[in-house]
Amino acid sequence: MELFLPVLFQASVLLYLVGAIISVLLRKREKINNLSANLFCMAASVLGAAASIAKILWHEGPLGIFEAHSTIPFLSLVMKVDNISAFFLLALFILVFCVSIYSIGYISHYIGRRNVGLFNFLYTTFILTMILVFTSTNAIFFYICWEAMSVFSYFLVVFESEKSENQRAGTLYIIMTHLASAFILVAFLIIYSYTQSFDLYGSSGALPEMSKNIIFLLFLIGFGTKAGLIPLHVWLPHAHPAAPSNVSALMSGIMIKTAIYGMLRFVHCYLGIEQAWWGLLILTLGMISVFLGVAYALMEGNIKRLLAFSSVENIGIILIGLGVCFIAFAHEQVLLGSFALTAALLHTFNHSLFKGGLFLGAGAIQYSTQTKDMEKLGGLSKRIPVTAFFVLCFSLAISAIIPFNGFIGEWLTFQALFANILPGQTGIDILLILAVAALGLAGGLVIACFVKFFGISFLGLPRSEQALQAKEVPLTMNISMGLLACLCLFFGLFPLTILTLVDKVILSIGGSTVLGELRGEFFLLFYPLEIAGNEILPAAILGLVLVMIILTLLLLRMFGGKYIERKYGTWDCGYEALTSRMQYSATGFSKPLQIVFKILFRPSRKLSAEGEALCSSEPIKYTTTFSSIFEDFLYSPAAKAVKSFSKKTAFRIQTGSIHNYLIYILVTVLLLILYNRFF
C-alpha cells in the first residue's frame, strides 16, 4: 500500500497533464480532441478517487507523492496528501468524473464555432491547479497554485468573451480574487517573518498571540472572498453565470471549497484554535450568508445567478458548522467541535454533488433553449423529461428533503448546534439559537427558491418560442446528471458510507470520533445514523413513503374501483383563452416574499404606457428592479473613491518624467535601508 498509493496519485496527476498537452496538440481535430481530453480526465478521476478513498481508509499521516526542489530559495514543489487533502480531492475527483462525461456532449456545440482545444486545455489545467492547491505543502507554492487556479478560472469565465457582460464579470472576478490573494500573501509573509519557514506542515509555535489574530483575519478575508462569504460575495453571482456550465459546476462545486480547505488547513491545523471569537466571527458571517444568500437567490430570474446565490447560502451552512467547531475547539470541547466539523465537511461534500448537478442541469436548459432567463422558460419537463427528472432530484437534495443527501448535512448541522447548546453554560447559546432560526428561515426560503427554479423552468406552459422548440440534450449529459443524482440518493440513504471517511479525517486533525462503535462494516448500509443518542434511518423513511404510496394505490383500487381519467384544459373561469402569459411568472412567484423582505431588496417599480393614458389599449410597460445593498453601499462608493483618488493623483505621481521615477526608486531604497538598520 505504501508504494502503491503514491503511484496512483502520480498516475492521476500525470493523466491530467497528458490530457492538457494532448488538447493543445490536437487543436485542429476538435471532435477527437474533445473526446480524448474528457476521457483522460475521467480516467484520471477514477484513479484519483480510488487513491483518495484508499488513503483515508488505510493510510495514516501525510503521504508524500511528489518532491522537487529548485535552486530558487523557498520554491520547492513538495506534494503531500493527508486526510483533509484526500477528502477534498475525493469530492473533486467524483465531480470531475461526472462533469467530464457531461462535457463530451456539452462542448460539442462549441465544435466548429470556438477553439475547443484551448477550452479543453484550460479546463484540464484548471482541475490540475485545484489538485495542486489541495496537495502543496509549501506556502509559496500554494500561493502560486492558488493564483494559477484563479487565473485559469478567469480565462474560463471569459471564454465566451464576445458578450460584454461576461467581460465585466471576468474583470470583477479577477479584481476580487486578486485582492483576496493579497491578503493571503500578507498572512504568509507575517508567518515567515516569525517562523523563518514556509512549510505548511510546520509548527506555528513561534507566532505571538497578537499576530495570530491578525493572520486569522487576513485568512478570513482572503479565503472568505473565494468562498463567497457575504459581504465578499459580489463576484460570485456574476462570474458563475458567465462561465460555461460545466465550468460553473466545477467552480461552484469544488473551487469555492478550496477556501474551506484553506480555513481548515491554515487556521485549524496550522495556527491552532485558541480564540473563541474566531469561531464566533465565522459563525456570524455564516448566518448572514445563509439568510442573505438564499434571499437574493429567490429574487433572481436568471437560473445560473440563482444557483450562484444559492452557493453563497450553502457556504454559509458550511461556515456555521465550521464556526461552531472553532468555538468548541477553543473551549477544548473536542467532541462537540467534532460534531460540528463532521456536519461542515459532510455538507461540503454533499454540496459539491448536488450543486454540481444543478449547474449541469442549468447548462442543459441553456443547451436546449439558448436562454438562462426563467421568464422565457416553462414546460420543459415535457420536452426534456429525463433532464427534468434529474434536476428535480437535485432540487430536492438542496432543499434538504429526505431521502437525499442534502438532508443529512442539514440534520447533522442541527444536531451539532443542538449538542453545543445543551451544556448551557455560555452566552454563545443565544447566537447558536439564532443560527437555528436562520437555518430554519433559510430552509423555508430554499424550498421556495427551488420550487420556483424547477416549477417555473420545467412546468406549466412554455413562455417563449425557444422553450417551445427546446431540443433534446445529448445522452452523455443525461448520463452524467443521472450519475450525480444517484450519488445524491446513495449518500442520502446510506450516509454512514461517507461519514466513516469524514470520521477518519476528523480523527487525523485532532478531533474525536462521533460515530461511536459501528457494528461491523458490512452493515454500514442498514445501520441507523446515530449522533449523540439521536438516530435517524433515512432508508427506512424512503421505504415507508414507498410502502405508503403502494398501499394507497391498492386501497384506492379496492374502495374506489378503477381509476378513470379525463384530459381537459386548465380551469380558466370560462374565459377559454388561457395563454402562457397568464401563468405566474418567476418575478410574480417571489413577489410576496419580496414585499415581506423589502428592506433587503429595496425594489422599485415603474409603470409606463407608450400612449397617452394608462387606460388605453396601448402596450403598458412594467419594470421592477432590485438593488443590492452591498453593491450600492459598500462596493460602489469604494470603487468611486478609488477612481476619483486615482484621477486626482495620477498625474502627480506618474508624471511621465523619468527623473521623478528615479527619485521614487532612490527614496524607496533609502527607506528600506533605514528600516533594516533600525528595526
Binding site: 445543551l422 448551557g424 432560526a437 430552509g443 423513511i541 405508503m548 380551469w571 380558466d572 412567484f589 410576496p592
Partner: protein, 318 residues
C-alpha cells in the same frame, strides 16, 4: 418487527381520526354560530364520494401533477408515524426525530407547490407563491420551539421528549412551555390553513392559499390532497397536545386497558384543542395577506422568549 407494527398502528390511528377532527371543528363552529351544521362524519362521506369519482387532469400538466397526491398523502402518513399518539407501547427505535418530521412534511409541500405550478393556472401559481411565503415565515418558529423542548429533554427524538416531559408533572405551569404552546398554536393555524392565516371554506381568489394550490384537483386526487392536509393538521395537533400536555404518566394500569385509556385521554385532549381552534376561527377575521408576517414574527418571538426562559430558568426544574 415490533417497530413496524407500532408505526403502522400509529399511522392508522391518525388516519382514522383525521377527518373526524375536521368534522368536529366544523360542527363546533356551527354550534357557536347557532347553526345545525353538517354531521361530524361529513368528511368521511366526502372522501368516499371523491374516491369513487374519476379525475380531470389538465392537458398542460406533467407526471408531477398526477404523482403529487400520492406523494403528499404518503408523506403526511409517514409524518404521522413519527409523532407518537401514545407512549404506552413505545418501541425502542422510531426512524426519525423532529428534524426528519419537518423534512418529510417538506417533501409533501415541495410537490404540492410544484403541482400547483404544473397546470399553468394563475390560481395555482398564486397559491404556490403564497404558501412559499407562509411556510417560510413559520419555519423558524417550528424549529426553535421544538429545539426548546428538545433541549429540556436533551434529545431531538419526539418519543424521548414525550417520555421526559411526562416525568415533569404538569408542564404547562412552566413559562417555557406556555410560550412554546402559544407559538405552536400559531404554527398549527398556519400549517393547517385556518383563519386568520387562510380560510379553508372559501374559494375567493383574494384570500385563498391552500385551496388555490389544489384548485385543479378533482375526484380521487382531490380526496388524497384533502385527506393528506387533514392528517398533517392532526399530526401538528398531536405534537402539541402530547408534548406539552402529556397524559400517560397518570395512567396507573398496564396492558391493553392502559392503551385504551391512553387513547381515550388523547382523544379528549384533541377534542379540547379542536374547541380552541374553532373558537379562534369564530372570533377572528382573516388577516390581510401581508399581515401574516406580523403574526409569524409574533410566533417567532414567543418561541424565542421560550428559549430565553429556558436559558434563564434552566430546564432541570421543569
Amino acid at each position: 418487527m415490533n417497530n413496524l407494527i407500532y408505526i403502522f398502528l400509529q399511522a392508522l390511528t391518525i388516519l382514522m381520526l383525521a377527518p373526524l377532527v375536521n368534522g368536529l371543528i366544523r360542527k363546533m363552529k356551527a354550534f357557536i354560530q347557532k347553526r345545525q351544521g353538517a354531521s361530524i362524519f361529513q368528511m368521511y362521506y366526502d372522501l368516499y364520494k371523491l374516491v369513487r369519482k374519476g379525475s380531470v387532469v389538465s392537458e398542460v400538466s406533467s407526471w408531477i401533477f398526477k404523482a403529487t397526491p400520492y406523494i403528499f398523502f404518503a408523506s403526511a402518513l409517514v409524518a404521522a408515524m413519527l409523532v407518537p399518539v401514545s407512549t404506552i407501547i413505545l418501541p425502542k427505535h422510531i426512524p426519525g426525530d423532529f428534524i426528519v418530521l419537518v423534512s418529510v412534511l417538506g417533501l409533501g409541500r415541495f410537490f404540492m407547490m410544484l403541482a400547483a405550478l404544473d397546470t399553468a393556472s394563475t390560481f395555482g401559481g398564486m397559491g404556490s407563491s403564497r404558501e412559499a411565503m407562509v411556510s417560510t415565515l413559520i419555519e423558524p418558529t417550528i424549529l426553535v420551539s421544538l429545539f426548546t423542548i428538545g433541549l429540556i429533554s436533551q434529545s431531538t427524538s419526539l418519543s424521548q421528549i414525550m417520555l421526559t416531559v411526562q416525568g415533569a408533572g404538569f408542564p404547562l405551569a412552566h413559562p417555557v412551555y406556555i410560550m412554546v404552546f402559544l407559538a405552536l398554536l400559531i404554527v398549527i393555524i398556519a400549517e393547517s390553513a385556518r383563519i386568520p392565516i387562510d380560510d379553508p371554506s372559501t374559494h375567493l381568489e383574494l384570500t385563498m392559499i391552500h385551496e388555490a394550490m389544489i384548485l385543479e384537483y378533482s375526484g380521487r386526487h382531490l380526496a388524497l390532497m384533502e385527506y393528506g392536509a387533514a392528517i398533517k393538521q392532526l399530526v401538528f395537533m398531536t405534537l402539541l397536545v402530547n408534548v406539552l400536555v402529556p397524559h400517560d404518566q397518570i395512567i396507573a394500569f398496564t396492558g391493553f386497558l392502559a392503551l385504551f385509556l391512553s387513547l381515550l385521554i388523547y382523544f379528549f385532549k384533541i377534542l379540547i384543542l379542536t374547541g380552541i381552534i374553532a373558537l379562534i376561527e369564530i372570533n377572528t377575521v382573516k388577516f390581510r395577506l401581508f399581515s401574516i408576517p406580523n403574526m409569524a414574527a409574533f410566533a417567532f418571538i414567543l418561541s424565542f422568549l421560550g428559549i430565553l426562559q429556558y436559558f434563564i430558568l434552566g430546564g432541570s426544574n421543569v
